[in-house]
Subunit: 199 residues, 2 copies
Amino acid sequence: MSSKDRIQKIKEDTRHNILRASLDIVKEEGWGALSMRKIADKIDYTAPVIYEYFSNKDAILKELTRIGYVKLAGKMEEARELSTTPEGQLEAMWLAYWHFAFAYKELYQVMYGVEMNCCSVENTCPDYDRPMNMLWDKIEEITPAEKRSEEYIDRKYYSFWSVVHGLISINLTTQINRDELNREVLKDAISGLINSIKN
Amino acid sequence: MSSKDRIQKIKEDTRHNILRASLDIVKEEGWGALSMRKIADKIDYTAPVIYEYFSNKDAILKELTRIGYVKLAGKMEEARELSTTPEGQLEAMWLAYWHFAFAYKELYQVMYGVEMNCCSVENTCPDYDRPMNMLWDKIEEITPAEKRSEEYIDRKYYSFWSVVHGLISINLTTQINRDELNREVLKDAISGLINSIKN
DNA sequence: AATTTTGCCTAACAGTGTTAGATTTTAAAC
DNA sequence: GTTTAAAATCTAACACTGTTAGGCAAAATT
């Protein structure tokens, strides 16, 4: 039915508008200012309408989190294609992770709980694992065969993630704006870790 | 005046009770559950009374943040005394930082914005800098004279902090409980960084 | 004993997430 | 085209939140 499809499309549009309005509010006024009534205002509805698209406010946050992971995975894929060596690809992927955190600051915050109490729910969405798996696989690829074990790769991934996420969340929470320092520490950490894998 | 002093003491006690009640609530139910009325209930008062001790809710969070920094600095001082070499002291201080984060999880969260939108205010309290200064000084101490510059120490401090804070906040936000992995990554990172300073 | 100060409470305002019920608009059936 | 059923949307309310104003009663001062 054309009519039914059209209605379906409008519903999908509204759902999308809710998410976009939410993100717009957060970008303009921060996570603390996000409210159901404010979202409703932006999409020219009243608050209860939102509950036909999302079971509650947390569900909106959860969906924004999922979108964030998908976007991040996409950016990392793009970055990976620009390099030919596995080492270059791994570095490019971490740099993409880094740039994502600042380009989509609000998404990064809700994804990783930076100045934001994300939905406490179990994160059992397959999209959540994509960025991790991409990095994990690439680390495995550059690991010499004699070292290649789950524990080893786990430890390396964890080391990478810690330093990059630490650097990011320090930058997002304190207003220290020291690009030079960031670049040096980040580059050093990544190249140091890549070296520690190969030798 | 004895009477005036006694009144003063009672007021200080109430102020302290407010802080203790707040922390108790947060420990039991998390930061999201902290409300002025709930605090008031715990200290057998009504909500408006709290405003005679703190100008608003943010002021309570700010004071808890300050207390956290003081406590952290104390723990780090204790740890430093247990070692004799500067390298051992630096490692001990970072391990104290690590242990503080889990022993006083709620304080660490509000101090560093982990799953918690801390008061956005300018952090211009001298206590806030004590832990950083202690670590900074010790890094300076073990840095060879020919390398000793503000930029160098800054970079090393930043590297330490990133990896330790990253590891902590990952542990606090995801419920991955892998003590073995944590210990290895943490020890590796600290010893690796200490080596990178000395050589 | 009268007056001022202090301590504390009640009530309220504007905001929050969320739900129930009424109302309007749209679609389907005759 | 009119009637009926269903879907879409709103208003009103509930129980919360931080915060402030005003009043009442106990304590301290004169």
